[in-house]
């Protein structure tokens, strides 16, 4: 009998987030000169690297999270007791 704890693996979400992640990295590496030129201007342009970091961490973070789940690497079933 299948265990009740078995859940459906988020393959679709992983692929979707993975594709967005790949697109972001492709854009970053293909447009290096343009990006470096504007991101390094300093002053008000300081928002550019900060916003970029948030955007990448959102999509790539979600992708890596689903990636380990799909591989079956998940947190221990019984959570540790924390004071």
């Amino acid at each position: 009998m299948a265990q009740s704890t078995t859940r459906k693996k988020p393959v679709g979400k992983m692929v979707a987030m993975g594709l967005v992640s790949i697109a972001l990295y492709a854009a970053l590496l293909l447009k290096q000169d343009l990006i470096n030129g504007s991101f390094a201007k300093g002053g008000i342009y300081a928002f550019l690297p900060i916003v970029t970091a948030f955007v990448f961490s959102y999509f790539h973070g979600a992708f890596t999270g689903h990636f380990w789940t799909v591989l079956g690497v998940e947190a221990a079933k019984k959570k540790k007791e924390v004071k």
Partner: protein
């Protein structure tokens, strides 16, 4: 403006893979102990030809999004005390600014060698005292055979929790106690100062939360990620204002480190809490030797001891860097091994549970 582009190195496939790999291992360790990786990443980038300040800035710009993802993941396991992290993080920010100012003054007065000597000596003194203490405590727990038991609050933390200073008391869920923010401010400040000096504030922050405030190891290491986020965000913005962040380097390291930090965070749910201290203490003590090796190089550059031959300097530098990489890899190995053992133990537990209930 004219030499802005000189700050940016050319990226080839090998460089990208190297940054991704170091990012992954650094992320794995950070997800587990709350910090780490930066001490290898910054010199690692510099060895590729990245100017020192750009390396520090780019490292910081990968640190805050990584810490954010790690903190969210560990919050799901109930390990994060956001209030404690934010309060410590704000005072840490002040510590970073002060630490950076000290660094600048030392650099002005004694040049690069003086600044490097200060960084190395800070490493040696702090890692020897704090790292030695953490490792000894982990060893004592292991020897006592009580590693399965819940951690006890130490004497110092009990005293800190017993002090009542009206108007400054705040309740923290990780401590399950009210403590005065007058204790958290200097701790956060010291964490920030260390982050500005050796790039790894967690070597002070995590032990301080455990031994001075009385937080359990798992919560301390998870809460450190909140501090790292607050500190890293402010620091990155400051560097970005001067155009020093190489976003390509930061995001490539982030690509690897997000795989690592997720894994490290998952790892904390499988291990006994004292393993946090084992990993942290081991890394600290090994890194101490790495930095200690560099002290004669800087002393010679400052003319405080006789000149060293080029071969000796090269040998010391290479050995020092190799030891740092070894420290990080050892940390990653301990995390993965502990995870594997925890996973096997869980499988056995689930299988025996199923047998008992006649499900097989």
């Amino acid at each position: 403006m004219h030499d802005i582009m000189a700050n940016f190195i050319n990226l080839d496939a090998i460089t990208i893979l190297y940054l991704f790999g170091v990012g992954f291992v650094g992320g794995l360790v950070s997800g587990f102990i709350g910090s780490g990786g930066a001490f290898v990443l910054t010199p690692g980038m510099m060895s590729l030809g990245v100017p020192g300040l750009v390396a520090v800035a780019s490292n910081m710009c990968h640190k805050f999004p990584k810490a954010l993802v790690g903190a969210i993941k560990r919050a799901k396991y109930g390990q994060v005390d956001v209030k404690l992290g934010v309060i410590l993080g704000i005072s840490a920010e002040a510590g970073v600014l002060y630490g950076a100012q000290i660094q600048e003054n030392i650099k002005k007065a004694f040049g690069d060698a003086g600044s490097n000597l200060y960084v190395s000596l800070s490493f040696v003194v702090i890692l020897a005292t704090v790292g030695g203490f953490v490792l000894r405590d982990a060893w004592k727990t292991y020897k006592s055979g009580n590693s399965q038991e819940e951690e006890k609050t130490g004497k110092l933390a009990k005293w800190v929790q017993s002090i009542n200073i009206p108007g400054t008391m705040v309740y923290f869920k990780s401590l399950n106690a009210r403590i005065s923010v007058l204790f958290t401010i200097p701790l956060g400040f010291a964490t920030g100062m260390l982050a500005a000096t050796i790039a790894v504030g967690g070597f002070i922050g995590v032990p301080a939360m455990i031994y001075v405030l009385g937080a359990p190891s798992l919560m301390a290491s998870a809460t450190e990620l909140v501090i790292a986020f607050v500190m890293g965000l402010g620091g990155s913005f400051k560097y970005a204002m001067h155009g020093l962040v190489d976003i390509r380097l930061a995001m490539i390291i982030l690509a690897g480190s997000l795989f690592g930090i997720q894994l490290g965070a998952i790892g904390t749910t499988y291990v006994k809490p004292f393993m946090i201290k084992v990993v942290m203490g081991s890394i600290m003590v090994i890194v101490l030797f790495s930095r200690g090796l560099m002290v004669p190089v800087y002393l010679a550059q400052l003319g405080l001891i006789g000149a060293l031959s080029d071969t000796t300097v090269k040998l010391l530098k290479t050995t020092s860097f190799a030891i740092m990489i070894f420290a990080l890899l050892l940390g990653a190995f301990i995390v993965l091994r502990a995870m594997w053992q925890g996973k096997q133990a869980e499988k056995l537990r689930l299988a025996s549970g199923a047998l008992e209930h006649g499900e097989v």
